[in-house]
C-alpha cells in the first residue's frame, strides 16, 4: 500500500521553522521582560502567555482576522508576494510559532533571570555592552534551559492541530501536516496510515522530550 510521507516532512519543516522563529523572537521578548522595566510590561507578559491558555481554534480565528486576505497584513503580503498568506505552509509556521512561543518566553526569562547578577555586573564593569553581555555571558550561562525549552517548543509545534487547521487548512500535498493527516486518515478509515503516522510522531516526540529532560537536568558546570 502506498504511504504518503509528505505530511510528516511538512510537519518537521514547519516545526523546525517555527522553533527557530520562536527562539529568536522569544529570546528577545524574554530578555526585555527580564532586564527592562517599561510601561505595559505586565500586559506584554500576559499577552505572551495567552496562546498557552486559549483554545487553539480561538487562536486560529484571531490569526485569520489578523493575517486573513481581508486584513491589512494579509493584503500587504499579497501585494508584495503576489499570493495569499493564509492556507499556505507559511501560515502553518505562523500558527505553530504562536503556539510554541509562550513556552520559550517563560523558560528563557526564568533562565536569564537566574544568571548570577555578580557575573552580569562584572561583565558590565569590565566594559561590556549589553549586547556583548548577552551573547558572551548571559546566553551561554542560560543556554541549557533555553535549549530544553526550544526542544519542547519543537515538540509542541509538531503536534499543533487546531490553529494550523483554521489558518492553513487541510490541503493534501500542500498544507496537510502530520497531525491533520492523522485526523483525516482516521476519519476516512485509513487505519494503516493513521497508525504509522501515530507511531512515528510518538517516537519522535518521546525522543524530543527525553532530550529536553536531559538538557534540563545537567546543570551548567562550566
Amino acid at each position: 500500500m502506498h504511504l504518503d510521507w509528505f505530511p510528516l516532512w511538512l510537519s518537521l519543516e514547519v516545526a523546525t521553522a517555527a522553533t527557530l522563529i520562536s527562539v529568536a523572537l522569544g529570546l528577545g521578548i524574554a530578555w526585555l521582560l527580564a532586564n527592562r522595566d517599561f510601561p505595559g510590561k505586565d500586559l506584554v507578559d500576559a499577552v505572551a502567555m495567552l496562546p498557552l491558555a486559549l483554545p487553539p481554534t480561538v487562536l486560529g480565528y484571531y490569526l485569520l482576522v489578523v493575517i486573513g486576505r481581508s486584513s491589512w497584513i494579509g493584503r500587504a503580503w499579497e501585494a508584495v508576494t503576489g499570493s495569499a498568506l493564509v492556507f499556505t505552509w507559511r501560515a502553518a509556521v505562523i500558527a505553530s510559532t504562536l503556539h510554541a512561543i509562550p513556552l520559550l518566553i517563560k523558560s528563557s526569562r526564568a533562565a536569564l533571570e537566574s544568571v548570577d547578577v555578580a557575573c552580569e555586573r562584572a561583565a558590565r564593569s569590565l566594559g561590556a555592552s549589553e549586547w556583548r553581555l548577552f551573547w558572551r555571558v548571559s546566553l551561554p550561562l542560560a543556554r541549557r534551559p533555553i535549549a530544553a525549552a526550544a526542544v519542547l517548543a519543537f515538540a509542541r509545534s509538531l503536534g499543533d492541530f487546531g490553529a494550523t487547521l483554521m489558518i492553513a487548512g487541510d490541503i493534501p500535498g500542500r498544507t496537510q501536516t502530520a497531525a491533520i493527516a492523522i485526523f483525516d486518515a482516521v476519519e476516512s478509515g485509513n487505519t494503516l496510515t493513521a497508525r504509522v503516522l501515530v507511531i512515528v510522531i510518538s517516537i519522535l516526540t518521546a525522543a524530543v522530550v527525553f532530550l529536553a529532560n536531559r538538557l534540563e537536568k545537567r546543570r551548567v558546570s562550566r
Binding site: D116, A118, R121, R124, S125, L126, R136, L141
Partner: protein, 369 residues
C-alpha cells in the same frame, strides 16, 4: 581621586525596614577601608561608585570625570566608568577559561596590546600556568587572584574590593594582603576596600571610613583610630577597647587633670572637656595599656580574675566589667602566683584613659563582686 556625595533611600517594605545611605567622602590614591557592621552601606557605596545602583541624589567624581550627577542628569553606565570591581563571590565567568576571562576584560584594548597585557597580568599574579583552566577547577585563592587580575586588565582608575578576604584561610589572607599592598604601591589609584575585619583595617589602610546605619560616623588614619576611636560606638565596632562609664568627681582644668569614680573606685582621670562635676563620661583604654598589680596603689581597682586566655604573644586576663588586660606571656606565671595569693589590682594609668563620649546620667555604674 574619587569624590562622592550621595543619598540613596530604600523605602521600608513589608519584610524589610527602610534604609538610607547618606554619605560624603573622598578617596585619594592609596587604600581607603570601608569598615562597619554588615548592613551599614559599605557594599552599597561600592555599587553606587561602580554604577550598579543609581543614587537618588548627589554627585560622584572620579579624577576629572563626572560619573554621576543627579542635578545634571548624568549617570554613566558601568561599562564607561573605568572602575575595577572585585566581587565577594569573585564573579568569574564559569564558562570561560582563566585566559578567556582576562581576554573578556581586555576587549577594548588594541589587539597587540591585548595579548601583552593579558600575559603581563597572568605573570604578575602567578596564574600563567592556570590560564587554560576553568574557574571550577581553581582553589579559592586562585580564583581571588584571577578576579583581581581581571579587574586590573583595563587599567581602571579606581579599584573596588568587596570583602576580598571572606572565606580565605590565614595563609591565603596574608597572600591577599600582600597583593593589595603591592597594587597600592605600583598603581597610584584609589583602592576602596570593604571589610569588617579590624585587623585588615589597621594593616592595609591609609585611611578608614567607619560606616554605621548608612552614614560615615568617623574617618581617620588607622593609627589615629587606634589611639583614639573618638566615639563609644566606633570603639565598640572596632573591638579591642575596654569601655568604661565614670562619674566626674573633681575637675582641675589648670593642671588638665580630673578625678573620676569608675567601678566604685576613685581614680585620676584625663583632662575632660565640656564636663561638670557629677557628669557621667565614657572612657576607653586598650587591653595592653592596663597593668596588673598584686597590691593596692594609685589608680588601681580591685578585681577578681574571671578567666585567662592564651593569645599569640600575650596572655589576656579578663576581670569582668571590661577590665581586660593583655600581659606579656613571660610575666604571667609569676603574676598569677602572687595574684592568686595576695589578690588582684588593675591599674588604669590616667594617661591612657581617653574620653570618647558623655554618658547618660542616672545610669548605674557597675559594682565589682
Amino acid at each position: 581621586m574619587l569624590r562622592a556625595t550621595i543619598t540613596k533611600r530604600f523605602p521600608a517594605g513589608p519584610e524589610s525596614a527602610g534604609f538610607t545611605l547618606n554619605i560624603e567622602f573622598e578617596a585619594a590614591p592609596g587604600v581607603t577601608v570601608l569598615y562597619g557592621p554588615s548592613g551599614s552601606g559599605k557594599t552599597l557605596t561600592l555599587d553606587t561608585a561602580a554604577g550598579f545602583v543609581t543614587p537618588d541624589s548627589g554627585r560622584i567624581l572620579l579624577n576629572d570625570r563626572i560619573l554621576f550627577d543627579s542635578g545634571a542628569h548624568v549617570h554613566l553606565p558601568p561599562r564607561d566608568r573605568q572602575c575595577g570591581y572585585v566581587f565577594q563571590s569573585y564573579a568569574l565567568f564559569p564558562h570561560m577559561t582563566v585566559r578567556a576571562n582576562l581576554a573578556f576584560a581586555a576587549n577594548r584594548l588594541p589587539r597587540l596590546e591585548r595579548h601583552r597585557r593579558i600575559a603581563e597580568l597572568l605573570d604578575r599574579f602567578r596564574i600563567a600556568d592556570l590560564a587554560g583552566r576553568f574557574p571550577h577547577e581553581l582553589s579559592g585563592g586562585q580564583k581571588q587572584r584571577v578576579s583581581i587580575a581581571r579587574s586590573l586588565i583595563a587599567s581602571p582608575e579606581v579599584l573596588l574590593l568587596d570583602e576580598p578576604a571572606n572565606g580565605l584561610d590565614a595563609a591565603l589572607r596574608a597572600d591577599l594582603h600582600s597583593i593589595i599592598l603591592e597594587i597600592r604601591q605600583s598603581l597610584a589609584i584609589p583602592i576602596l576596600l570593604v571589610t569588617h575585619n579590624a585587623e585588615e583595617c589597621f594593616m592595609l589602610s591609609d585611611r578608614v571610613l567607619i560606616f554605621e546605619g548608612g552614614s560615615i560616623v568617623h574617618r581617620a588614619a588607622p593609627l589615629e583610630l587606634l589611639r583614639n576611636p573618638g566615639t563609644e560606638s566606633v570603639a565598640r565596632l572596632l573591638g579591642g577597647f575596654n569601655v568604661y562609664e565614670a562619674e566626674v568627681v573633681t575637675l582641675d582644668p589648670g593642671r588638665q587633670t580630673s578625678r573620676v569614680r569608675l567601678l566604685d573606685t576613685e581614680i585620676d582621670g584625663p583632662h575632660l572637656r565640656g564636663c561638670f562635676l557629677g557628669d557621667r563620661v565614657v572612657l576607653c583604654m586598650r587591653p595592653e595599656e592596663l597593668r596588673i598589680a598584686t597590691r593596692p596603689g594609685a589608680n588601681r581597682i580591685r578585681g577578681f580574675l574571671v578567666r585567662a586566655t592564651d593569645r599569640m604573644q600575650s596572655v589576656r586576663a579578663d576581670f569582668g566589667h571590661d577590665l581586660i588586660v593583655d600581659t606579656p606571656r613571660g610575666d604571667w606565671p609569676a603574676l598569677k602566683e602572687s595574684g592568686e595569693r595576695d589578690g588582684w589590682w588593675i591599674e588604669l594609668p590616667a594617661a591612657f584613659l581617653r574620653q570618647i563620649g558623655r554618658g547618660q546620667t542616672g545610669r548605674t555604674v557597675g559594682v565589682i563582686g
